[in-house]
């Protein structure tokens, strides 16, 4: 879809922003360009809509050299989102979103009704349409920025650090929302970030650039974490890439055992009889209520009378990744991770050691068919209750961990 052929960008002062880049970005995929500052990732992005003209090589879009099209015309067919949204302060939210349709001569009425649809699509209430950008929060502005980029339904979206100027909580929301949108829209997206976590969370493919504008590696997130091409990439993806890889292993395949699970109505004596240091109390529907330490159990009565320690968090067998499972084990007072099914009922427990052994097997298994993008465990995808926004694009790739409480993102 988007193809770079031996593309370089040199400036008169002798700096090389991009050096001999050849890259082909798949249609309908989300490619993240990531790297330290000064690595040429933004320059590369801007060469796609001719905001920057290459010094050598060609960039083509859908098989056509982009230089064959006049720059303004080319740009109207490519959505663009930037860091500080860059909304037009003198235009209402609605007119901001209607910008490209108006440029294309759709007429005011049609352009505005399209804009209203887009506002809804990005999750902004219709009451915001008449406001001016200064009346919006940073996160809302960024949503408007995305809506504006989608104005004329362009097949290609360029996004230059779109979420890096908002606080981490809003960023997480925007990312999740954005993945949901992409699942619906299947745009060909080029996304620039300096944040490797964001790259791994969002990208179908990741291009890692090194300083001097050289492409260091172009791979799927799994492959990047698993087999970094060299020390630079390994260093860039960080020390915890082993743990991050677990985001791509489905929790559904992990082995669980029944463990010390008792209804909350069970007598204390029965809990003691299990001979375990901790007992998990569940309600009538087997939903987990909390852990009780055997040593602190009252002398008589039922588990209702015992002090229950909060669970930390559970992991879902139908939507979470192994990373969430491992995190659940580490945070659990009993060191046991509690796996729940789609209904929230306890399916079983496992400790970190048991999990890590299973994960080691799972990651080696996924190595083999990774290129064929095989579907994950049938049970996992069929009964999936994962909120739509939290799984990645299409492809059969396993989704990353659930957001929020699950996963190690809350650090």
């Amino acid at each position: 879809m988007i193809r770079f052929d031996a593309v370089s960008k040199n400036y008169p002062n002798g700096t090389t922003a991009v050096d001999g880049l050849s890259l082909e970005l798949a249609e309908g995929g989300l490619t993240v360009l990531v790297g330290p500052s000064g690595c040429g990732k933004t320059t590369t992005l801007r060469m796609v809509n001719r905001m920057v003209e290459p010094s050598a090589g060609t960039v083509s879009l859908g098989g056509r050299d982009i230089r064959e099209v006049a720059a303004p015309e080319l740009r109207r067919g490519i959505g663009y989102v930037i860091q500080h949204a860059g909304l037009f302060p003198h235009r209402t939210v609605l007119d901001n979103v209607a910008t490209v349709p108006l440029l294309l001569g759709w007429g005011k009425k049609k352009a505005r009704s399209r804009a209203a649809e887009l506002l809804e699509l990005v999750g902004l209430p219709a009451t915001m349409a008449k406001r001016y950008p200064y009346q919006l929060s940073g996160g809302q502005q960024q949503r408007v920025g995305v809506a504006r980029a989608l104005g004329a339904d362009p097949p290609v979206l360029l996004m230059d650090e779109p979420f890096s100027a908002v606080d981490p909580i809003v960023r997480g929301e925007l990312q999740a929302e954005f993945l949901r949108l992409q699942k619906e829209l299947h745009k060909t997206i080029v996304f620039v970030t300096h944040d490797i976590d964001e790259a791994i969370k969002l990208g179908d493919h990741i291009a890692v650039f090194r300083t001097g504008g050289k492409l260091a590696q172009f791979d799927t997130p799994e492959k990047l974490l698993e087999h970094p091409a060299d020390d630079f990439v390994a260093d860039f993806v960080g020390q915890d890439r082993g743990i991050r890889r677990l985001s791509f292993v489905q929790a559904s395949g992990l082995p669980l055992r029944e463990g010390p699970v008792l209804p909350v109505t069970a007598p204390v004596a029965e809990a003691r009889a299990l001979g375990e240091p901790w007992v998990l109390a569940v309600d009538a529907a087997r939903r987990p209520l909390g852990w009780a330490a055997t040593d602190d159990l009252p002398s008589g009565g039922t588990l209702t009378d015992a002090t229950l320690v909060p669970l930390g968090h559970t992991f879902s067998l139908t939507g979470d990744s192994a990373r969430a499972a491992l995190d659940a084990a580490l945070l659990s007072p009993s060191r046991l991770a509690v796996g729940v099914d789609a209904q929230g009922a306890v399916a079983g427990v496992a400790d970190a050691y048991e999990l890590s052994a299973a994960m080691a097997r799972a990651t080696t298994l996924t190595d083999v068919p990774a290129d064929a993008a095989t579907a994950p465990e049938p049970g996992a995808s069929a009964a999936s209750t994962t909120p739509a926004g939290l799984t990645k694009g299409d492809a059969g790739e396993s989704g990353p961990e659930k957001d929020g409480g699950a996963g190690g993102d809350g650090r």
């Binding site: 740009r75 860059g86 909304l87 037009f88 302060p89 003198h90 001016y132």
Partner: protein, 221 residues
Amino acid sequence: MRDGEPLVRWAWIGDHVDELAHYTGVHLRLGLLPVLFGLIISVPLGMLCHRYRWVYPPTLTAANVLYSIPSLALFMIFVRYTGLTERTVMIPLTLYTLSVLIPNVVDGLASVPDPVRQAATAMGFSTVRRVVQVELPIAVPVVVAGVRVAAVSSISLVAVGQLIGQGGLGYYITRGLQLDFPTPIITATVLIMLLALATDALLVLAQRLLTPWARGKGAKA
């Protein structure tokens, strides 16, 4: 001043309402048309200075040099070409507005945030459309600030034009001096001040209506 002459003879004002109204109209025309002409010159010049930064310092210096020439000298120069007409007053006043308006147009265009300019380009605005539909509208609040200064100073400067017989309400000031009669002097002075203040207030109002989006300016980037 003659003994027993009051500062203001109200009866005189009552007798001269029509004439005062006429001269007030002339005064407004002489004061405000130069601002309009100044704006017509400053916008393209300011755009040029914004686009090619090296043009700006010499342009600004030239505008300031013009501003430093005493109005009397300018009137005398232009009398040779345009005679004792309103034009002879308005040309110097137009030149005077440039030293305020050009920097304000340049600053106004510079006040367009970089991401906004980039976004406009990336959306597919041609250069001309971007300037007309995005950059100039965003520059309006800063430009209006300059127009306010230019308008107020121009309205008060008009009176000097009476030296060549074209001073609007300035007519009453010289008349009053010649006749040793304070009423017209004070009336004209107060009217000129009121005109300046009213013009300023109208410009503020116009800007509020024109740029409702600018109210939060400064509150958020």
